[in-house]
Subunit: 700 residues, 2 copies
Amino acid sequence: MRVDLELSSREPGPRDSDKPRETNPQSTFTHTTFNGQSILAATRNIISKNTLQFQLGLLKSTGRYDCFKLKWHPIYDDHRFWPVPPHLFWDSDLAKWMEAAIYFLSHQYDAELDQAVKHIVDTIRSAQREDGYLNLHYILVEPGKRWTNIRDMHEMYNAGHLIEAAIAHHDHYKTDDFLSVVTKYVHLLHANFGPGPGQRKAYPGHPEIELALLRLYKTTGDVKAYELARFFLAERGNPTGQDGQHYYDWEMVRRGEEEHKRPNSYPMSRDYWYCQAHKPILEQESIEGHAVRATYLLTGVADLVCLHKDGTQPLADAEEWTAALHRLWDNMTTKKMYLTGSIGAMAQWEGFGIDYFLPQAPDEGGCYAETCASIGAMMLAERLLYLELDSRYADVMELCLYNTVMGSMSRAGKAFTYENYLASCSGHLSRREEWFECSCCPPNVSRLFGSLGGYIWHFRTNDEISDDGGHVEEEESAHINVHLYTSAKLEFKTPRGRTVSLEQKTNWPWEGNVMFTLTQPRATSLRTTVRLRIPSWSRGAYVLTPSASPETPAALEKGYLVLSSEYIAANPSFSLAIGGFEPRFIAPHPRTNQRTLTLARGPIVYCVEDVDNGWEEDHFKDLVVDDKALPVAEEEREWGGERYVALRARGWTRNVGGWELGGRAQDEEKGVERDLVFVPYYFRGNRGGKGHMRVGLLRP
Amino acid sequence: MRVDLELSSREPGPRDSDKPRETNPQSTFTHTTFNGQSILAATRNIISKNTLQFQLGLLKSTGRYDCFKLKWHPIYDDHRFWPVPPHLFWDSDLAKWMEAAIYFLSHQYDAELDQAVKHIVDTIRSAQREDGYLNLHYILVEPGKRWTNIRDMHEMYNAGHLIEAAIAHHDHYKTDDFLSVVTKYVHLLHANFGPGPGQRKAYPGHPEIELALLRLYKTTGDVKAYELARFFLAERGNPTGQDGQHYYDWEMVRRGEEEHKRPNSYPMSRDYWYCQAHKPILEQESIEGHAVRATYLLTGVADLVCLHKDGTQPLADAEEWTAALHRLWDNMTTKKMYLTGSIGAMAQWEGFGIDYFLPQAPDEGGCYAETCASIGAMMLAERLLYLELDSRYADVMELCLYNTVMGSMSRAGKAFTYENYLASCSGHLSRREEWFECSCCPPNVSRLFGSLGGYIWHFRTNDEISDDGGHVEEEESAHINVHLYTSAKLEFKTPRGRTVSLEQKTNWPWEGNVMFTLTQPRATSLRTTVRLRIPSWSRGAYVLTPSASPETPAALEKGYLVLSSEYIAANPSFSLAIGGFEPRFIAPHPRTNQRTLTLARGPIVYCVEDVDNGWEEDHFKDLVVDDKALPVAEEEREWGGERYVALRARGWTRNVGGWELGGRAQDEEKGVERDLVFVPYYFRGNRGGKGHMRVGLLRP
């Protein structure tokens, strides 16, 4: 008989038997410290030192900071973007920044950030209505109209981010000042939305609150939060949910809105695939619409299944939900994801195109590739790793992290991309901006890096009770699954109070050698298993030192090298050398019709930029590289105190003149040969230049 | 001093000095007879024997035939497609069918067609309102709302087709029964739309009436028709035309319609590029939006410039209009046209995508390629040839004719395509339909083939008066420009009553040898010049027999071999052997990112179909051909009494398995080698099969 118990070392709050066990990533990131000079640690330092303060300044100068004081701001009169006014996301901008700031505060005190968080929380508390309602727009700008446009007006989305910020606040400050506010709001929502008579059969146009509610449930055990999330997920896309109608149709009629009046993101009237509400989630065959909404939604679904898996809240149709998760994940990662870990080819709905439609740039048919969407993909991957330890999830998580997500911020931490094209064009140069009117991405990057430890690894502890023919023995076990490699240390206590730590040291992502040291009390019955991801791009090339033996076994399971407790006991220090760091050419799926080659090395995807290749005048549209004829050289470089590996190869520009409609097909004529310099895609756009850049170059 | 005079051998109607000279194609098609067994003559026979009667039956069974009796039809209650009800195009369906039927009647009497035309005209006459207004929808279904939605409701489009049918009716029946009806309607429009105070500053959402009005002007000399057309063209896209507003904004507000209520074809609110009204035509840099609207509009523009060119109605800014024509034509043919002569990649707005965006199928990013759009491109090309004799216009005209347009009809003449994909996919098999709810294409094909002679050649006659130092000599000249080759005969009279005929005999498009015989009175002062197009795909390979000499010169000018009057006088029978009939591989522009090869032979573009290549299960997505390694064999075939040339070559299917995101780029692995059979694209979908087809195959 085995009883799985989860470690819970940090939370105050409910401790009774209703308290659910944690799922992730919230369970590990506070247990992680980063050390050394890795690019991840450097990025965290930049955010900690520059970005959060810089973004705080922008929150102040744009009016966001004090918006919950509920004074009129001129921007509230701005009606350019029907139905969504420019201030509609302010609640979430504040909340995401607070959540990020708190994550960093939990590692290092900063008086300015600390004061700002407390100030914002105070204004939010003061703005909450008597009944618990809390939304800037509907309290101040359109009072009396709350819940009249659940589809477009982001009330629930904003609520979700407030909840997540409140959880972070509660965990760090150990008070309920903010948590009680959002709990009251959640109870109001729970009373008004649900399956009961008289309740609205609605679900948010922009999913987010689902995963936030499930985090809240995991923090406080508040079953209303769980019920509300589960209702939102199960009800979504019901064609006859509200009085026999699709909820969004029903509320549209009540708003007095005609069928053919619709936001610009809806290409056709009532195209509810835009917000994944075209049919119930369990019936959805492919991932569709707005990519951030889709990944946030599926993260919520995965959280629901996680709670089933760990026995906290059983789900009768868990298999169906799991099947939907796998189906939509597979569709996304095999048919709708760029080589950089970006998703979403379509600008109009900020989301997915049809299968295999992955042009590199807006002027080549479409490319949107929003930063937040790849963050959403990482969040989803992290939950899927909890449900099923398979390196294919972690491979995608790492791809998103080191390329789209990390590259969305300048190396100085004060400029950001919203869209992450794989190639620039004259209308969209490879540049970053300080801020956006809808500024979801910049604080989301801060937040992601603030909780980065949760993506690096998972841990779990068990009390095992083996009843061997009347002879009862008890022993503890710890399981650590290492998804990403960097220089960092994980430290946690077992239920019996033993401290376990695992430290990894590496020059990843530039080299594949990782040194591990596990520390735990000697001579205890604590048995520790460590699972190490073997990335698929390594093609299974790895060396474990000391090597395993029949007495200290290690085995590969679904892309993870499982080091048995015997191995760990015998080798508390060990190293893993992962191969695949020679430069390689990668390519999009043949069905994309993008017959291109891209240089990659380890998890890093490369691009060409005009800064290094100054002869380019047209976004490298005609540049050809040959994966067979040309050797690729490596070159260590340093910029702004950070080291990176550049690559050099030969290529040539094709001549495209001479084409005529109906004329004879010509061979692609070799034009000028070029020595090419490639830099990591994340590093693009930091050194000036004309803003010409490309990831996928033509195959010969 | 030269005085150009145009031949006008057929029209009754005004003969005073206001009578404008004709432009084309209306000037030549009634002078042309088709003979022999060419594919064009065969297609005309099919339409004459099968299609017109078949379509008449459909007009009757669907309610169109008697709709102008103004009785209620259940379909008028059908509101599925706001704002356009399904019956909105019925006026034009009837008109286009009548126009087509009359063109064929002018060559051969058919009692059923003749009676039907007369019946429809009677009902139309009886339906016209007292003040001249004439539109089924606004007379019967929404009385009192005329001209409230010029943008979407196709009133002017329907009027245009009625005008064109009335011109055909007038020319054939030599009565004003129908012409007087449309003239009265035009006068009503002229009174209500124009630059004067109190007049509406509107222009049709779907252009068509512009070219129809200019045809009417050329037929009757009615200056009001000219003025109205010119107003529509000049006013179009005026941002402040109506009370300081864009007309479509102005009328939308008057309808009580909000900005964000819009038809499904408008991806964003107020996207007036959909109907080429985003800016004035003279300022438009690229061809945009709905492809049929665009080509019809530019045909009207070209007609306007034609009237300037021949001195009938001077146009102060003719150079600007000409520049706009060239700019938009060039954009269309070099960046937005498929290899089959199709245009329009985007289904949502039935029109143009961005430059170089030309996927082959809906499941590969988009392909719409409407039949009517290629007919519009032919109409435009024909006018441009009148303005500037350059074979590049005729090359496109021929490409459209033999591929998209001819292929839109089954060889039995009773099934049609609306969209002409270059590749089938599971949602869009390569099939034809008998009819469509919006059935613009089928009668348009009939109409095009009815007036085909106007596209084959142009002619012009001059009275030349040379005043050589007091010694006045008069002589006549005739000029015949041969754009397309087929077995046909052109016959016309000069102003002095001399009959000239040019006959061509050829097995085109299968062979390039064309025999010409010019017949004209012997020993007169009539000097005749013949210009013969040398297609660009022939790469200038041609042999003229007898050959030219210094005394009987011939010279190549802009892709036309100009046979001097001396040559013609010496060689009334001559032949031209054009090369380029060996199979060739053609390819889309490199910038399309469609790295494919297509077989062509002469003007015929080829495809593969599963009927001949029965192993195919997935629309030939993985089929590769090599233009260098493989010989292409020809094979004469016969089907349904028609001969065609099939092609055979070797190819192979690539293996696409084994791809993984971020994994090493693989060489495209050769799978199974195949003997491939290629048939003309126009011939596709006639022999059953699974409906799998593709034009562009992968390059190795």
